[in-house]
Amino acid sequence: MAAAAAAWLSFADASGAALAAAGGSAATARLPGDLAGAVDGITAHGLAPLVPAQLLSAAVAALRARVARLQAALGPVAAALEAAAAGEGGEDEEDGEQGAAALPEELEDALAEALREACEGVEAATQLLSLLCERVLCSQPTLSAADRAALLAAGPRFRRDAAAALVDAQPGGHSWAALLYRYYWLKLRQLSEAAAAAEGEDEAMAEDGEPGSSSLPHPGWGARLRDVAAYLRALGLEAVSEEAFAAVVCRHLREHLEERTHRAFDERILGPALRYSASTPLAFLRLVLPQGTDGAAALAAWRARLSYYVYEAVGGLRIADMFDIVVDWPDSLPAVEDIRDCLQNTSLHRRFVAAFRKSLTDRLLRPGAATADIIAQYVSTIKALAACDPSGAILGAVSGPIRAYLRGRRDTIRCIVTSLTADEEDAAAQSLLAELDNTEAAAEDYDSDFEGGEADALALKEAERWEPDPVDADPSRASSAAAAGDVISRLVGIYGSKELFINEYRSMLADRLLSKGDYECDRELRTLELLKVRFGEGNLHNAEVMLKDLADSKRINANVKSVPNTATPLRRRRHLVDINALQATIVSHLFWPQLPAEEFNLPSEVSAMLSTYAAKYRSLKAPRKLQWRPWLGTVSLDLAIGDQMLEFNVSPFHASVLMHFQSRPEWPAAELAERMGVAPDALRRKIVFWINQGVLSESRVAGQQLVYRRNEQLQTGPAVAQEQEGMELEGGAADKHAEMAAYEPFIMGMLTNFDALPLDRVHNMLKMFASDPPYDKSLEQLGAYMGRLVADEKLSLEGGTYRKR
């Protein structure tokens, strides 16, 4: 027994010393003689089953000492790296171009050396362990299966324990992750700076995307990095190392991109970014990844990962700027193309939609934004999204809020129509008009009278263009419908029907035509022709008649003026006056929208001209007669005030007011209002124009009434606010009530025959029985109108039911 104990002790001492010393010298291929003897000694005493535990504990004890040495050796390295990182973090904000704080070469060597030593130590200890166990197995073949397995597993088990111990180690008081992250970061920065410097010298190199060894900072630089990475792998620190360099590479790419983007939308950043990711970061990875076939596979995986990362990062950057990109459209086409490619390669759609919608709601759909601007942005959005997402699914998702918002604005249609019919100087209008010209898509929508074969061919073409919706498209929305529309049909589609649009177009057209001094309407004709292609001829028949009226007016006007006075009925001849200053626009009122009514008395000179004109017209076109609408149209005035000549284009009312001052220098307001046949406050609203122009002045002497006076010299006084806006609103409300007035007999008829009716009953009965004009108003509109009838004391409202008074 004593002999056995002695043999065991000598074995333990010898193996412990050998393990502690392992790695100091070159690893041995065979056991030293004394160790072999000690092994034989214990096996002879049947102590073999105890060997693995003893050996492992001895090896781990030796390892602990080694790790402590490694930690001590890495201390300065970690400190230097930390200092470098801190210095960089502090200075980066101010000066990103400063060279990376260099790691002294001897420290890097120390790092490599310490790692190498640890690596060799572990390697040698493992080998020694395996040899010892082998020897035990050889000398005692009668061991149980479990003991044999334990002996065989001792080597690999030690390797695992060693790796675990190393991972837990805290070199220089820092975790491996931090240390390696800083190390790799430093190395990558050095590499990218060297690459940037080399790129400056040699442009072609960047084109290759494969920087040669010449771009490495200096010879031996790459070798050291490669060694460090290899030792780390050998030490079982591969996971930590990979995590560190992955983080480094991603950060590097991100910073690179952020540095380059700078909100410049007029050039693509995706291509250069992809090229860049394939150059410097990949070169770096080539060094840190293992060589050989494993490395090649890992490198290929990394290449794909990097390009995906670039797609995602570029997409993220562009998406954040999407609103401004749309604002800059079409100059921002490169940025939109970036987004398109990013969306194709990533699944950023949802994020894109959410971000863009949010920026639209935050920045565009606000009460402060002008409707025209919103429409312009919407048009740009449509075009930009058409370029980056041909399926239209994103547009469908994004345009919802804009459309809903525009529907809520009263002047939307007016703005759209204005931009369609506006003057040529307006660039924005030009683009819309150009869209109108682009009738390729439009014809499909509205003129469906294709011959059978043609329709088939068209369907075939359509089918060929089909692409599946992106997976995250809203399935409730038909994508084909979304894709089919072009800009105009989308704008028109805001309201869901083209009728509203056409009606608004008609009233705008009427305004424009009536305010024309000449009869030239080439541009309107052109617009009309384009609209006809889009909406069909029948829908725009009225507008066509209106334009024809203008053309006819031109001709009739010339004819009327050439009618000699003698040709007109005799009894009127003595009233005939010169009508050369008068140009009439003769409208077929059935085809025109309802024209605003605004009664006032024309000065007698003007009414004489009108009646002369009418008489001559009658002699020419009997039995037709003219019914004048003197409040429409414009008057060109040459005004002489003092020694100044002024030219004005004003409404007939304004001109008539001024004419009265030809005969008298001043008018009391009430008297002038009576002469004009309007209310004094209505007169004042209009006369403010002349006061602001300095042509007239108003004065009120205490206790006396308001007097308007002709200025003998042009005066520039404080401007008086013109209540244009209020006037228009009032006019709009009056128009609405005028429309509703068509139903007043029905309402009165109902209430004559039924004592009392609630609002909804009136609404329903109107819907059912009013056919000319068909009742198309909302309950709210009817309620407002009934309220007005109540206010006018035609009806009374008691307990929710209306009665006739």
């Binding site: 004559t752 009965m765 029985f769």
Partner: protein, 176 residues
């Protein structure tokens, strides 16, 4: 019941529109005609008569007649019901007073004895002419064939009592 030439509307039409019995029913045309009558009634305005479809159907109307000035019925507003058939305008509508009316040619149930609603009907008559006829009937009853004998006896004999009974009947709530 009997002829009442005095109550005819001024523009008496010929008999051209008498129905052809074999003519198939066409409610679409009837609806259209009633719709047009409604339109013209609404557009033409009052003259003391008015009518409007009572509810969901165009075949069921409510009419209103105000008593002509200078008659015993002045100040009274009478509500009537007009029921059209799908043979309108070739058959007259059924017209009844819904407001109680003391009148020689109106019975206590509101039935009216008026020739143009019976054998003198013509397709050229309209809701408006019917109501105008009834309005003039109020002012000018036919006492020779009364439905209300009491009224017929008082008419032209005791004006004061006649007026009082008109008002009394007008103001009493309708029994049925």
């Amino acid at each position: 019941m009997n002829n009442m030439a005095g109550t005819r509307p001024a523009a008496s039409p010929g008999k051209a529109g008498v129905p052809d019995a074999s003519r198939p029913l066409d409610t679409g045309a009837v609806t259209k005609r009633l719709q047009q009558e409604l339109m013209s009634l609404m557009a033409g305005g009052g003259d003391g008569v008015s009518a409007f479809p009572a509810g969901d159907s165009l075949f069921d109307w409510v009419g209103t007649i105000s008593g002509a000035e200078g008659t015993a019925y002045e100040g009274c507003t009478f509500r009537l019901s007009l029921k059209f058939t799908s043979e309108y305008p070739f058959k007259p509508p059924t017209v009844r007073f819904e407001t109680a009316c003391f009148h020689p040619n109106v019975d206590t149930y509101g039935n009216i004895c008026l020739d143009i609603l019976k054998d003198k009907w013509s397709a050229a008559y309209s809701v408006k002419t019917i109501l105008q006829s009834i309005q003039s009937l109020l002012a000018d009853p036919n006492v020779d064939s009364p439905l209300n004998v009491h009224a017929a006896k008082l008419w032209g004999v005791n004006d004061a009592e006649y007026r009082a009974l008109v008002q009394k009947t007008y103001n009493q709530p309708r029994a049925s």
